[in-house]
Amino acid sequence: MQENLNESKSIYLQIGEMIENEILRDILKEEERVPSTNEFAQFYRINPATAGKGINLLVDEGILYKQRGIGMFVSKGAKEMIRNKRKETFVDQYVKTMLEEAKRLNISKEELIAMISNTEEDK
């Protein structure tokens, strides 16, 4: 959890996204325990209620599950769930903004596709 919090969006959404990122990067593995609300609160100097709200969002989505008296754990299949969820927002968040900017710069569809495949090769 090395990222810093910023003000561009709600803190609890950022906490949720950070946990998701850790799961996608295999830093947090399925069936592994997630830090507690209080651990998050003290690490980021935020109110535990806010941290709890972020964690509970992921519980509601089934990405994490609660084990009474022990803590929160990463669900089986959590990675897949996060991927599917993020694919849905990918078009809105990235593709549409890219197309808008491309339009402003008069970049054609062919040019754009060429740019994407060239960038891919460079990596």
């Binding site: 561009s8 609160a41 100097r45 935020i46 535990p48």
Partner: protein
């Protein structure tokens, strides 16, 4: 669950109305942030809530019992404010340890061991005279008394005002640790809003002797947003709404809109909506009287 309720509080000093018909409910188990401009009435309000200062009119109760001149109620509240370095008779020659000793008598839940640890954490010399303390050291004493009081309702008046960033961070950490263990209620007034905003479950904004809002911080952040776009579009959007801080640059206009809780803002695609930090919200709603 315990609650402190203030109803119809007025406070008059000679010809100024420091507080005007203030109603406020403080619920147990929360960290509240209290923000307001200098002279808005924060300290007066905290001192009335803790029965250190009488209200001109109105009533403060804790779980239905009046707080004023009620030792049982007062025992549950700690209002820690900065100690004055001078007295009417000259410099304050009491030592830090004298204040800690007095606090031990004053607060029934006083945690001596905790106070001792905090003195060490802040590297204070308990034999030092109050008149010889720096601004930062005075803040540290305020914090030590507040935390070690272990009072069910603990109010801190600008506890970080004199502290450097390292000590402020240390305080935020100590506060959260204490809150994890005790889950008691804190009200913390501060001018360093940017740093502390995320610590506050609820935020109380005091404006000109009145409560502008007392609500969940995340809710407040969600319902105040900045819109920017062409002057015509922004004018159309703010018409009939609670709006603040209208500024124009060329033909681009921006304004801060305060929505009702749960309300969503529908804007044309050409208008940009930006969320604001608590500090920016404060600037928008409390900064107007200085403009123009």
């Amino acid at each position: 669950m315990s609650t402190i309720i203030a109803k119809g509080i007025n406070k008059k000093y000679k010809d100024t109305n420091a507080l005007k018909d203030v109603d406020l409910t403080v619920e147990s188990g929360k960290i509240y942030g209290m923000i307001g401009r200098n002279g808005a009435g924060k300290t007066t309000l905290l001192s009335i809530l803790s029965a250190q200062n009488p209200a001109t009119s109105g009533l403060v109760t804790i779980d239905g019992e009046k707080v004023w001149e009620n030792q049982k109620a007062i025992d549950r509240i700690c209002f820690s404010r900065e100690i004055a370095t001078t007295t009417p008779f000259g410099p304050n020659t009491y030592k830090i340890k004298d204040y800690l000793k007095a606090a031990e008598i004053f607060y029934p839940n006083w945690d001596k061991e905790y106070a001792k640890n905090l003195v060490e954490t802040f590297k204070l010399n308990p034999r030092k005279k109050v008149s010889k303390l720096s601004k930062g050291m005075l803040s540290m004493v305020t914090i030590i008394i507040a935390l070690a009081s272990r009072a069910e309702f603990t109010f801190l008046d600008e506890p970080v005002a004199g502290l450097d960033i390292v000590a402020r961070d240390q305080f935020y950490k100590l506060l959260l640790k204490d809150y994890e263990e005790t889950h008691r209620t804190f009200i913390i007034s501060t001018h360093i809003i940017e740093e502390a905003a995320n610590l506050f479950e609820d935020t109380i904004i005091v404006k000109n002797g009145e409560i502008y809002t007392n609500e969940n911080t995340q809710q407040l952040l969600a319902r105040v947003q900045m819109v920017s776009g062409s002057a015509e579009e922004v004018d159309a959007l703010i018409a009939g709404r609670d709006y603040h801080r209208v500024e124009q640059l060329g033909n681009t206009k921006r304004a801060t809109i305060v929505m009702r809780p749960g309300e969503e803002l529908k804007v044309p695609e050409t208008v940009t909506v930006t969320p604001l930090s608590l500090q920016e919200i404060f600037l928008a709603v409390c900064g107007e009287e200085v403009e123009q």
